[in-house]
Symmetry: C2
Subunit: 304 residues, 2 copies
């Protein structure tokens, strides 16, 4: 199972964190932007090419520190087709550098359509006898509001292609509770979701002791994370909300199991925009990202 | 508000339905596929170009019968970058033909990321002073599991750019009830979601009497639709599940208000694969789609 690969990479790097590649064009250092605009204009293509240079620099600087990267699809879709193209380039480059790639897409739909989404990112598509790989990442995020038949195609592909998914349980945003914290009987909706995730995960357990169906659990809600950890002992947690969103290392501690495993903590702006804090020059954006990724690693390791 | 435009187009065509453009390559008539494979190979590009020819034929045949088309993003993402490119081409072509375009993407994320998704499809993006439009459809579907701050950026853009959204309330798939039918107090989760949608919709009401925040309500659950209709009187319903998924015209009746408005019913395979049923030749795929769209119109009009 692909989650075994993730665990292996986490152990190799001694680092349970993932760098979120969420590159708005305004995050890209101006000298990179100017170069791209000169060649491609202030256009979707110009923005996308600037982002590509930025991502490449970040990946080069981070690839021996972090086990994984998590591109957020929204920030590529926002730059139209050129953005999508740069997303594909970024994924290929990260894989080439040995990074585990979690594509944050939060896809969801009814069964036959979920199957198409799953093939798009985890599998291959049959074109009259030719098997083609549309994108090919290690792992995607999904939203399971539609229930089992919207998630099953992804799980089937996890088994077939050795991949993994993270399903939203308790998200990190301020209003996540409006629906997720509602009580149903004596349980919150996020607990109900956790029970479903645990069930889906049950027959996907790999050598690491963890399964292919993980959960998204926000660092901003440590008390809920503690409950969720007990409900999904064999699911890996993808933990957003560390850093820029306000969650610290103590906040993510409950997401880990006693074996020091079980969670991978994301930081996006905290890492990729590190050069905007302190005394860094723009040209040092990659070095600053690396320094922050190392600081974050030490911070996390100190609490688990 | 963009929903006024939808209502206008529905009235003009006398047809409360939308043709779902969900083109798996195996749905495309073989003569089109063979032509595309000859030029581009059995590849993602070959499949995408076949889909483009198919879509163009369908849009030409349907554009004076239906008010709207609904491309399902999954079936384009499944063919990688060439698929994405054909999605953009299809959207542009449908708009050129005067069709209202609902892009079915079911996007969802925390606030700052939802903003990126919203700009990607409803708005424009600022590239150092240049406003660029990444895609530009009339309307998208969203999943509101994350609560208000995941939806608000879309609503803001509905107001700013005159657009609309449909949020998932009760989906058409068999396992939709696992989460959506859970009771919270004396209400189902889909009712709680409906109350949220109604609230979000309240300050977006246009001249038609309907607002920018609609709801996805599956044709396969008519009893729930009846309840939901009363909870969201000013929201348009996007109704999947008619036809191939088993819902008939009587099943969708509860989705309409007494004014004969308030719902737009989707059929995807039922229309685009109509040529596979009865005595049609492959070459008549567009004619068959048109005939089915007309039959569906009459079927719907007979019950509202």
């Amino acid at each position: 199972m692909s989650v075994d690969l993730l665990v292996k990479k986490i152990k190799e790097k001694g680092n349970p964190s993932v760098a979120g590649l969420d590159p708005k064009v305004e995050y890209v250092p101006m000298f990179i932007r100017e170069k791209a605009y000169k060649e491609y204009g202030k256009s979707l293509r110009g923005a996308a090419e600037a982002i590509w240079e930025y991502n490449k620099g970040l990946i080069d600087a981070l690839c021996d520190v972090v086990p994984a990267v998590k591109p957020q699809s929204a920030f590529y879709e926002m730059y139209g087709l050129p953005g999508e193209e740069v997303l594909h380039r970024t994924i290929a480059y990260a894989k080439e550098k040995g990074l585990y790639v979690i594509l944050d897409v939060k896809r969801n739909d009814i069964g036959s359509t979920a199957e198409a989404y799953s093939k798009a990112y985890l599998g291959t598509v049959d074109i009259d006898g030719e098997e083609c790989e549309p994108c090919g990442v290690d792992c995607v995020t999904v939203n399971a509001y539609l229930g089992t038949d919207g998630v099953k195609p992804f799980i089937d592909d996890c088994k077939k292609y050795d991949k993994a998914i993270f399903a939203l349980a308790k998200t990190s945003n301020p209003s996540s509770g409006e629906l997720q914290d509602l009580m149903s009987g004596d349980k919150h909706i996020y607990e109900k979701m956790a029970e479903m995730i645990d069930k889906w995960n049950a027959d996907t357990i790999g050598k690491s002791g963890y399964g292919a169906v993980g959960a998204v659990v926000g660092a901003t809600y440590p008390e809920q994370a503690e409950v969720l950890r007990k409900l999904m002992t064999k699911s890996y947690f993808l933990v957003p909300g560390y850093g820029a969103q306000g969650g610290g290392a103590m906040g993510v501690k409950p997401c880990f199991n006693d074996d020091g495993l079980g969670a991978i903590v994301n930081s996006s702006r905290g890492i990729i925009c590190a050069y905007k804090k302190g005394d860094w020059k723009e040209e040092q954006f990659a070095e600053a990202a690396r320094a922050e990724a190392i600081r974050m690693r030490e911070d996390l390791v100190s609490v688990i």
